[in-house]
Amino acid sequence: MGTSWHSGRVPPATRSRTASRKPTGNARSWDEPTLAPVVLVRGPEGLLRERAVDGLVALARERDPNTEKVELDAAAYGAGNLQVAASPSLFGEAKIVVVTAAEAGTDDVYADLLAYVAAPDPETTVVVVHGGGQRGKKMLDAIVASKAPILQCDALTRDADKAEFVSRDLRAAKRRAEPEAVRALIDAVGADLRELAAAVAQLVNDTTGTIGVGVVDRYYAGRVEATGFKVADAAVAGDAGGAVALLRHALATGADPVPLVAALAMRMRTLAKVAAIRGGSVTARELGLQDWQVRNAQRDLARWTPEGLATAITAVAQADAEVKGAGRDPVYAVEKAVLTIAQATARR
């Protein structure tokens, strides 16, 4: 193996997490990259696989900045591709060949890898990325038997592991968070590791200082639907003052304007549909409306003309466009729509 083996950049002190379930053999955690002629990255967590590969590439480029990265998609692999990719380039640059999606590879890729593992090129690093499952088992067994390093990318199921993952990303960004905030974040978006990583990145970008539980709540606590319907109720009843007050409160506590607009749209839609029932063109059953919905809408419709409905729905569509990027001020866009609805009722 000789001099081409380089150890990961992560200092030993930060590796304590893996102590709880140290993998056997040559397996190690995804965040402890090490270079070797053949490296196996395996496990079901896609984000971790990507990060493991990034770590290996970074390590290779640390050793030789001109290292060329070549990706081979195992699912579209043809016989001999590996030989071509792994052979030294014309200009003698080092190479790192990443075989992606080896869990869904062609028969050729397994045959070629099996042969390659027996006699790998010491100058090149071949990274095999396998997402789990039985496909390519013989090849996997051969890699394991060759004592090649294995970067494990297990799904993070325990909250403690997820918290460690969050802390790791925060450390890399030189930021800190209250433990309470980390817990709240995991509660809100922890089901999906990618979403969790994206949320951490967003908090890092959008805030300064120690990340507190307040900011996490504001970003991720959601629960605006109920507020949205209250705002819509007030607006449809023609109560402009009440509707705007509710709206401002919702926005001030961090509600996202997009679901607020959706709630307005849903309310106006029901009114228009019930207006169509009154016009005799359809029945409530055909529209899938409940009796109470029809009764409520009929009561509301006493304050509405067809022209008013047209104005209101047009305003809501405009607001949706504005909160989705067409306007500079999404908060004002929703407020304008709420006021337009309330005024469209009064005008009869």
Binding site: P44, G46, A275
Partner: protein, 381 residues
């Protein structure tokens, strides 16, 4: 027979591309084919790729030509997306592809359809790749117009504009390829506004013609705000159904393939560690269905726009061919709308269709965008 046979009505563009393929020593390594949907960007890109590989510059008959046109040539990579954007990972992997020397052909050709469907970060990855292409690599990017790609990309590509082919040329192709009846083919080509793929489908499939006529008829049926909201719901439901019918079979196949690849028995519960991969696939498929639904809706709006263009032409008494003049039912809709409204109202309705298309493009809830549109189409004052 040549590789250019299917590139309809693009004499100027074909001339440029053909000449480039004939003189490979002074090759331009990055091309940008632009033209509105249906102008045949991807067909032209494939033909160009074949001409580049062919020893005779695009004979259309040799192995290089036929495999390139069929998309199976090993040195041809085509990137298209069924989703709203091309993913950055896909573009990253192209960099490695571009570096590989061609195995059979004269060039490694990478065609990026929908080069406009990229976020800026992804475009920057692409930029790096086309900035210094290896001598054996040719990039062919396709987009609706040069404005749809970033200036940094634009400035590194040779742009070749494609035009909307005349309907007669499209009809002629449909007759030649599919043996369609010439009258049906011309009606289809007009209704498709020269979109080749669509014209072929309309000429071949009476149900597709029926669905299109139904969309036009919606415009006539809207009498008030209630009707408008119901009609909008109908249009969205039809789009959903059409999107589902065109993607569901493929979704199931992909899922079965993934399960097989993961070594799971179909129907059995999946171990938790494999579920994330299945979830990933399902998310991709959902995104694809969303895009397909938007595309179908956008197509409906193009059809509606063609209807009001005809209405306006009739109201103004202009002597030009109607887009919807060859189908008696469609013509009846044109006539009744022309009689019931003023040219000013027609223009306002066309504007409303434009607004709705923009909204759909910028992610407004489809149902809401269609409701506002349908309301603007109702008879007023």
């Amino acid at each position: 027979m040549t590789v250019w046979d299917e590139v309809v009505g693009q004499e100027a563009a074909v001339d440029v591309l053909q000449r480039a393929a004939g003189d490979t020593r002074s090759m331009t390594h990055a091309w940008l084919l632009t033209g509105p949907p249906g102008s045949g960007r991807s067909v032209a890109a494939r033909a160009f790729a074949a001409a580049l590989q062919c020893e005779q510059g695009g004979c259309g008959a040799c192995h290089q030509c036929t495999t390139t046109l069929a998309g199976t040539h090993p040195d041809l990579t085509v990137v298209a997306t069924d989703q709203v954007t091309i993913r950055i990972e896909e573009v990253r992997s192209l960099i490695g592809t571009a570096a590989r020397t061609p195995s059979l052909g004269r060039f490694r050709v990478i065609v990026v359809e929908d080069a406009d469907r990229m976020i800026e970060r992804t475009t920057n990855v692409l930029l790096k790749a086309i900035e210094e292409p290896p001598a054996h690599t040719v990039w062919v990017l396709c987009a609706p117009s040069v404005q749809d790609v970033l200036p940094t990309i634009r400035s590194r590509c040779r742009a070749v504009p494609l035009r909307v082919p005349p309907p007669e040329a499209v009809a002629e192709l449909v007759v030649r390829r599919d043996g369609a009846d010439p009258t049906v083919a011309l009606a289809a080509a007009r209704a498709a506004q020269s979109h080749v793929g669509l014209a072929r489908r309309l000429a071949r499939d009476p149900e597709a013609r029926g669905r299109r006529s139904a969309v036009l008829d919606v415009a006539r049926r809207i009498r008030g705000v209630g009707d408008a909201v119901l009609a909008a719901g109908e249009l969205v439901d039809v789009a959903k159904a059409e999107a589902a019918s065109s993607t569901s079979e493929r979704d199931a196949t992909e899922r079965a393939e993934l399960m097989r690849a993961l070594g799971a028995q179909d129907g059995a519960t999946l171990p938790p560690r494999l579920r994330s991969q299945v979830r990933q696939l399902e998310e991709d498929q959902k995104r694809r269905a969303t895009r397909r639904q938007r595309d179908v809706l956008d197509r409906s709006m193009v059809d509606l726009l063609s209807l009001y263009r005809d209405v306006l032409v009739m109201q103004l008494g202009a002597d030009v061919d109607l887009i919807n003049g060859l189908d008696p039912n469609d013509l009846a809709v044109v006539r009744s709308l022309a009689a019931d409204s003023t040219p000013e109202q027609t223009v306002r309705r066309m504007d409303a269709i434009g607004v709705a298309r923009e909204r759909l493009g910028s992610n407004v809830a489809p149902l809401l965008a269609m409701e506002a549109l349908a309301i603007a189409l109702r008879p007023q004052g």
